[in-house]
Amino acid sequence: MVGYKNYKDLEDQNIILSYKGSITSDLLSSILHIMENKLAKKEEDKLVQRKMFNILVEALQNLYHHIDDFSTSATTDYTFDKEAGMFIIINEDETYKIITGNFVLNKNIPLIERSIELVNGMNQPQLRQYYREILSSGSIGEETEVGLGFVDIARKSDYKLGFEFAQVEPAISFFTLTMMVDQV
């Protein structure tokens, strides 16, 4: 009955899609293609479809870009694939929830926290203004791109971004980001 139990768990938790493993460019292409089709069938409102697709693109690309270099970090005998990522897409109570997760070095936590708290503290006009400022600054780098990703996600989300860091090793934590969109 293991198979059915797994199926039932996915159904009871209203999971549309869940994944754990390496995040590659090809994977993202496939996932975006699958989700675009699923949303087209499942979701009547074009604006909601678009918001969801937009957040998915940015959230998954953040996962893709934001793999820390763990090669020099002190490891304990607890071995796991630190470069793996996770994402779960849930649809319940007329809300879509996108959850992403990846390992981060503890020393990078303050920067991530600051970026999220900054966008969570802004209203829509402020977010747009901030987005424009980053765009016009003319610099390009991973940091500004990730920053821009968070701003864009915040602009499309109907709620503040949820986040959590769970320590898994002395120098490493698991970072979870939660984004939500209402089905109008």
């Binding site: 074009k46 940015e58 390009i140």
Partner: protein, 127 residues
């Protein structure tokens, strides 16, 4: 100067350029959601660089996105800044967006503010 003729893919737009007697015309059309847009925009950056020393009287860029990710927005801003620095030619950017596409309308407004080039926002009716 070689003309660009890059076919669109599921993640990147179609890019065309045509050097005519009196103008350079560039068209960017489609969906732009690559993980690394910098790489994709490089041929456009190179094109502007080689065009800069000897521009035609007019330079027109048509931009019609179906979808744009933040990585592309960033690269596009840098590309348009580079274009802004070309002198000795009448420059214009036409930004097309579909009537109900508020995101791309806003994106066009943002670029119009950031970039110091005549910038037309052109609404087209939804197909």
């Amino acid at each position: 100067m070689e003309n660009l003729n890059i076919e669109g893919t599921t993640k990147t737009p179609q890019v065309l350029s045509a050097l005519e007697d009196n103008r350079l015309y560039i068209s960017i059309k489609g969906r732009s959601i690559p993980e690394d847009a910098k790489e994709f925009f490089q041929p456009l950056m190179d094109l502007i660089e080689s065009y800069k020393p000897n521009p035609k009287p007019n330079t027109v860029i048509d931009i019609y996105f179906e979808y744009l990710n933040t990585s592309s927005s960033k690269s596009l801003a840098i590309f348009l800044k580079r274009f802004e620095s070309v002198t000795g030619t009448e420059k214009v950017v036409n930004w097309y967006y579909e009537k109900l596409d508020y995101d791309l309308k806003e994106a066009g407004e943002d670029f119009a503010l950031i970039i110091d080039i005549p910038f037309n926002l052109v609404q087209i009716s939804n197909s």
